[in-house]
Structure formats: C-alpha cells, structure tokens
C-alpha cells in the first residue's frame, strides 16, 4: 500500500522531467533518513499531506539543475525567483497528480517554496523519510516523502 503511494510521487517527478526535457531522469535506490535537512539542496518545494494520512513530500534541487531545467524549456531568465518558480512548479505538478490519484482521503496542500532551509512539516522524531535520489543529466535532486 505504502509502496504504491510512494510510487505515485515518484512517477509524477519522472513524468515531469520526461515532458520538460529531452533526457529522462534516473531514480536512485531509495533510502531512509530522519531529517529532510540531511538531503536538502539549494531550493525546496514542500507539500504537506493530511487527511487519513499525515506527512509531507519534498522536492529539493540544486540551483545548477534548476538553471539547466529552466534553459531546457526555452526560458532565459535564471534568476532566483525563476528558480523558485521552477521548483514550485515541480512540486505543484506532484501535488496535482497526487491529489488526482490518491483520492479524497488525502488532502494535499499547495506547495511552499523555500531557498536554503526548507519548510519542514512536523513528524514524529522516530519516523523516517524516504529519500529518493533523482538523477537528471549530471545533477542530483532528491524527493523526500514521509507518510504516517
């Protein structure tokens, strides 16, 4: 059950990059972390999940990846706000897909975008976050998910 739900978020990311760029992403083997800050890159989009399940979904990416992503979709402005928009858009796509596919038992928020320290959704201290490496071209972003 949990695996299926995690896959929904992973699939959303894969599809997003598939449509955005010429090169598909490669998913690394997922591992467990206790704190999203262990994998936080320059920009992070956070979606909170509530309803029957509680948790969060993070997409965190370095600025180099975001710059390349912006340029690959034909934009020339790689300013800070554009990079925030880009990470927000990825998170937003995930949020939309998840909302559509997970059904009404999941309440998916609109994304919160941050530069540097991410917006962290509270969780139990011993709960784990699934860190899923997203490798695109030579860059590495991470998808972080925790669901209780």
């Amino acid at each position: 059950m949990k695996e299926e739900k995690l896959k929904i978020f992973i699939d959303s990311i894969v599809k997003y990059f598939h449509y955005a760029g010429q090169t598909s992403v490669k998913i690394g083997s997922p591992f467990l972390i206790k704190d999203i800050k262990e994998v936080t890159a320059d920009y992070t989009g956070t979606i909170s999940i509530s309803g029957d399940y509680q948790g969060a979904c993070y997409f965190t990416a370095p600025s180099a990846l975001l710059k390349h992503l912006i340029l690959s979709i034909g934009e020339v402005d790689t300013s800070d706000s554009m990079m925030q928009d880009a990470v927000g858009e990825v998170a937003n796509t995930m949020s939309g897909n998840a909302r559509r596919r997970l059904g009404k038992k999941f309440i998916i928020s609109t994304p919160k975008v941050s530069k540097g320290a991410p917006f962290v959704v509270d969780k139990k201290s011993d709960a784990h976050i699934y860190a899923i490496p997203i490798n695109w071209k030579s860059y590495k972003a991470t998808l972080g998910i925790h669901l209780n």
Partner: protein, 715 residues
C-alpha cells in the same frame, strides 16, 4: 390578525376619533360658511330696507312734483310702487318669515327675525310703515286708474297726505331699519363668533387626538424597537456563544447576512454574507462531492422529501479540510447539518450548522490505531515474553547495525545494473543473519519480514537491468523492520521496567534453556514448512557454559545449522522410506564445555549427506568455479564455497534455505568467534558439523578469543 388588532386597539380607536373630528370640523365649517353667507345676506337686506325707506320718500316727492307740473309721472310712480312693494314684502318676511328679493339675484328666504331687539325693530317699523303703505297704495291706485282731472286732484291730495306722513315718519323708519340692520349684523357676528369657537374647539380636539395618536404610535414603535433590540441582543449573544457555526441558506443557495461567531473561527474568515454556498463549499470538496452537495441541497428545498431521510443522505457529515495552524498543516473534520425553515408551509431557507468534530474523529482514529497497535504489541509482547531477555538486547543491537548497513548500501550511488546487483547482493547476508537470529529468539514476525526482504532482493538480482526504483520495495520493508525493532525496544524497556521477565530472565549466563526451547520450535516450524518429519535431540544446552556476549551468536549459529540440516540434510519422508530409512529424520544439536576456556557446538543429521556433484554443478553454473581454468574441484573447496559464497544445493529458495546464505552466515559467525569448523558427511548416512570455540575466560566473563587457527574446512 386578532392579535395584531389587539396590540393596536388604542391607535386605531384614536385614529377613528381623529378622523371623525376632522370630518366634523370640516362639516361644521362648511355649514357655518353657508350660515355666514346667509347672515350677510340678511344684513344686506336689512341695509336695503334703509335704502328703500329713503327711496319711497323720494319717489313720493318725485311723483307729486311731476303730477303738479302736469308732467308724466309714470316712471317715478313705478319706482315708488317697486320700492314700496319690496320694502313691504321684506318687512313682512322679517316679521313672519318668507321669500324676498335677494341683494344678489333671485329670491331668498328670510327667517323671522330673532331676538327682542330685532322683533321690536320690526314691530316698530310695521307700526310706522303700514299707514304709510296704505297711503302709497291709495296714491298708486288713484294715479293708475285714469287720467281724469278729478282723480288726479284726489291723488295729489293723497300724495300730499302720504308725503306729509312720510316726512314726519321717515327718519323714525330709517332709524328703526338701522336698528334692524345693526341687530342682524350683531346676530351675524354672534354666529361668526360661535362658528370660530366651534372650529377652534374642533381643531383643538383634532390636534389633541393627533397628539394622542402620535404618542401611542411612538410608544408602540419604542416598544417594538426595544423588543427588536432585545431580540437582536439575545440573538447576538446566542451567535457569539454557540459552539456551532450557524447560518441560513436561501432558495438561491446564498448564505444569509447573520452567522454565529464560531463559523468565523471554523473557517478563518468573516466574509459569508450573500456568498454562494455551493461556491463556498466547492473550495472545500472535490468536484464530484460538490455535485452530491448540490443534489442534496435541491432535495432539501423539495417539500415532498422527508427531513429524516435527508439527514441520512447528508454528504457533509464528516468533511475533512486542511487548514494551517502555526505554520503547520492540520486536518480539520467538520460536520454539517441542515434543518428546513418554513413560512406559511413553504420552505424559505435552510438553517445550516457546522460543528468542528476534529477532536471526536481524531480520538476515534487514535482509539482505532491504539487498539490495533495494542493488539500488535500484545502479540509482540507475548513473543518477547518467551524470548531470552539476555539475548534480546544483543539481537536489537546487531539487527539495528544490520539495518543501518543495509540503509547505507541503499544510499550508496550505483550507476549500472551490475552495481545495483552488487548492492542487492551485499544486503542478503546482513538480513539473513537477522532472520536467523530472530528465528533463534522465536521472533517469527521478524524472520518473516526478513524473508520478504530476501525475496525482494532476489527479484532485483534476477532482473536483467535493475535500477534504483526497483529498490523501493526493499526500502519499504526495511522501514518496517526498523519500525518493528523500535517497537520491540519500547516493549522490552517496558517489560524490563515493570519487572516482568522473559523466559530466561534472571538466569545465569551459562543457562541456555530458553535457547533450547527456541531451537525446538524452530525445528518444528522448519520441518512442517518443508514437509519433513524430524526428531530433534538437544544436548548440553542446559549445562554448557557459554559467555553471555557470544550467546546470541552461538544460538544463531545453532539455528543456521539446524535450519540447514532440516532443509538440506533430512530427506522427505517418501525419500527416506525409499532409501530404507525411518520416516522420522534425526537431528542432534549438542553444546558442551570443552576444557577450561572452550566449548563445542555439534549439529548432526541422518539425512542424505552433502551432494557434492550437485554443488559442483551449481558452483559452475553460478560462475563460482571455472573448470576450464584448471585446478582440482575438491569437496573441501566446495564446502568452503558453501560457507563463504551464496552457494546452495537447493533448486528453489524458500523461507528456510535455497539462497545459499544460511551457511554463508554460519561461516561468518564461526569466523567472527574464531571458531574451528569441521564437517563430515556420507551419502545417505548423514552430515555432521562440529564447531570448536576456545580461549574464552570464564573468570573475566569477557570474550577473549584466541586466534588459534582459521577455519580449516572439512575434517
């Protein structure tokens, strides 16, 4: 209606009186205006009498003068006649009432003059006038009859007589007529005064009535205002105090102007007035749910649908919405209920109440979760109660380390299918050891999870082109294993804290009675799963001395060897019968002290023995051996492969064996404890593993392994 009339009786009565008064005043005024006009006419007629008396006298003089001068006198005679007749007629009308010529035009009717002064004046005037009138009539008759000289002379005589009478009485008559005029004027003035008085009284009464009406109306308004104000105040107090969010929805599905304060705290807004309810609720539910809500609202306004039925159909009984509190997302559960509001038997609106049932729902969910968790914990606790409390911390520590290592392996970067496969391969022994350890402790639920993990690893290994997302399933199982460990830790702490002890709690480190029981259970479980019949003999586990620190490893090693003996060594009952053996396979596990600082573990079975040909075939197939590369493939070499590489003689993996990991883990344990393993095997006779451990100091109770000799393989 009657209530309404009752409440306003005073106002209605006063208003009727007011209207009657106004109409009365108007009527009186109308009447008096006629009376005044009539009185003025009387005064004018009285005044005309004065003028007529003078004209009669003057006409008499004119007639006489004309007659004496022999001039035509008909005109003055007519004037005399007209004046005398009008005077006479009018005077008689004053006396007894009757018609006379109006001063304006036509005829008018005079009432007999009233009042003593008037009556006296008329009476006196008649006294004076009647003789004079007789003389005048005589003159008129005489002059009007013929023009004879005799008659004329006679008429002149009458004229003279009339003139003399007039000369001597005309002033008196004038005065009397003057008195009559004054009297009629006085009467007219009195009537006018009276009229003003009546009008003033009427107007005053009307004003008074009006004032009373105003007073009553204002009083009523003030009372109504006070009632309305009190009602508003009470409504406001109710709206501010009630816990539920209350508001009305009209037929157009618009929200009303009033709502309770709680509604604002539920939705964090106060903008509800005239808002479309469907639009409002649309922001909280999915599109399909919104359709249900719309249909439900239509039913609410349908008078043919029963309220009780509608209560059951309510789609908003438990609506989950997400809100943010202190920067953190939070789920809120709301309960909407709807009651129809009727007016004249028509549904005019729906009273909606919203309650925040988050606490109730959360408590119910927590209760359910807690019940489930308690059930799990109870099962876990029962399992732990039977586990060796001395070995459990060691198990928790070693499994925790194994999980951390698996997680590190997952975390490590892999760029190719080979690297992914290597990563998966490296996880297998780590988890397999946990599986063996948990089985040794009787923690079946952990060994099952470990087995699932191994299955999933095998799936990754079997993939032609494994990639990162193939590991997701492994990571999920790893989290379950870690979570199970956390639960065991907390339960174990609770048991330790409560003084409840496990099967061997309080036992000395040399006592391994619980291990004996676990091994018996393991043998039973594995043999049942494998469809084999096995009789396990355990010797020495109750007496042999084993250092506490290595006890788990020793029992784990025993369980790996036992599992291997049943899975690989003992044949199926049919095979055994076919080979002329008893259906019941014999496995012996023995643990005994050896010398001052050592002990020995032996596992022996009467199975089919190691099939070296099959092992060789598998080793070649798996690329572990290359026959073309030269070198003799000895049984010793094959056993070493069994103990160090994932080589198994089983064709299919199951929960107990087949991945070649069991003996590999056993080999690692022997190596870890610096043991010396000897294996002897004979086809269809059986196999014997014997492991010797030395150099453990009983006095210090610490593990002091003496590196005497590396494992040398087959004896």
């Amino acid at each position: 209606m009657l209530n309404f009339l009752g409440r306003y009786t005073a106002i209605i009565t006063t208003t009727i009186v007011f209207v009657v008064l106004v109409v009365g005043v108007l009527g009186v005024n109308f009447n008096l205006s006629f009376q005044t006009e009539a009185n003025a006419e009387v005064v004018n007629i009285a005044g005309r009498q004065r003028m007529l008396s003078q004209r009669v006298a003057k006409s008499l003089a004119n007639v006489k003068a004309k007659a004496l001068s022999d001039e035509p006198y008909s005109k003055p005679l007519d004037e005399l006649q007209t004046a005398a007749q009008l005077f006479n007629r009018t005077l008689l009308a004053f006396k007894q009432g009757g018609p006379t010529l109006s001063t304006k035009s036509g005829q008018t009717y005079l009432e007999p003059v009233s009042g003593s002064q008037g009556e006296k004046a008329v009476y006196t005037a008649l006294q004076i006038w009647q003789p004079m009138n007789g003389l005048i009539e005589q003159v008129i008759n005489q002059l009007g009859e013929s023009n004879e000289q005799a008659s004329l002379e006679s008429a002149i005589g009458s004229l003279t007589q009339a003139q003399e009478y007039a000369d001597s009485n005309i002033n008196r008559l004038l005065k009397v007529m003057n008195d009559l005029t004054n009297h009629t004027e006085s009467l007219a003035n009195d009537a006018a005064d009276k009229s003003r008085l009546i009008q003033s009284a009427g107007i005053l009464a009307s004003l008074l009535c009006f004032a009373i009406i105003m007073y009553l109306i204002l009083g009523q308004l003030r009372a109504s205002d006070m009632r309305a104000s009190m009602a508003r105040r009470e409504t406001k107090q109710i709206f501010e105090t009630v816990d539920q969010g209350l508001f009305l929805v009209d037929k157009d599905l618009r929200m009303g102007s009033e709502h309770s304060k709680a509604l604002e705290s539920i939705f964090f807004t106060d903008k509800f007035e005239n808002k479309s309810f469907t639009q409002f609720i649309g922001g909280l539910v999915s599109a399909s749910d919104l359709d249900k809500v719309k249909r439900y609202l239509d039913l609410l306004f349908d008078p043919h649908k029963k309220q009780r039925l509608l209560t059951d159909l309510n789609p908003l009984k438990k609506l989950a919405i997400q809100v943010e509190e202190f920067g953190q997302p939070r789920t809120k559960f709301l309960n909407f209920s709807f009651s129809r509001v009727f007016k004249d038997n028509q549904i005019v609106s729906v009273l909606s109440s919203v309650s925040d049932i988050t606490k109730e729902v959360t408590l119910a969910n927590e209760l359910e979760l807690e019940t489930r968790r308690n059930q799990q914990q109870l099962e876990m606790m029962l399992a732990l109660m039977g586990a060796d409390s001395d070995m459990l911390p060691e198990f928790l520590a070693s499994s925790h380390g194994a999980y951390a290592n698996v997680n590190e392996l997952l975390k490590g970067r892999a760029n190719s299918a080979l690297e992914f496969r290597e990563k998966a391969d490296a996880m297998m022994p780590l988890i397999h050891k946990v599986k063996g350890d948990s089985a040794a402790l009787g923690l079946e639920f952990i060994s099952q999870l470990c087995h699932q993990f191994e299955d999933k690893v095998q799936i990754v290994m079997n993939k032609r082109d494994p990639s990162g997302d193939d590991f997701l399933s492994l990571t999920v199982t790893l989290e379950q294993l870690i979570s199970t460990n956390q639960q065991i830790s907390s339960i174990f702490d609770a048991i330790a804290g409560s003084g409840i002890s496990g099967g061997s709690a309080g036992a000395s480190e040399a006592e391994t009675g619980d291990s004996r029981m676990k091994l018996m259970q393991l043998a039973e479980t594995v043999s049942q799963r494998q469809g084999k019949k096995v009789n396990l003999s355990i010797a020495g586990f109750d007496e042999a001395w084993v250092p506490a620190k290595v006890k788990l490893d020793v029992v784990s090693l025993a369980s790996q060897l036992l599992r291997n003996a049943i899975s690989h060594g003992i044949e199926t009952p049919a095979e055994r019968v076919g080979a002329g053996k008893s259906e019941l396979g014999q496995v012996t596990l023995a643990l005994y002290s050896q010398g001052a600082q050592g002990f020995r573990l032996v596992c022996e079975d009467d199975g089919g023995g190691v099939d070296f040909d099959l092992l060789e075939e598998k080793a070649i197939a798996q690329g572990l051996l290359n026959p073309e590369a030269g070198g003799k493939i000895t049984p010793n070499r094959l056993v070493n492969l069994m103990l160090t590489n994932a080589l198994s003689s089983k064709s299919e993996a199951d929960e107990d064996a087949g991945r070649g990991v069991g003996l590999s883990v056993a080999g690692e344990l022997v190596s870890k404890l610096n043991g010396k393993l000897a294996l002897s095997t004979k086809p269809s006779i059986g196999t014997r593993f014997s492991v010797r451990f030395t150099n453990f100091d009983k006095g210090s109770n610490a593990q002091e392994p003496m590196i005497e000799q590396k494992m040398k393989g087959v004896a």
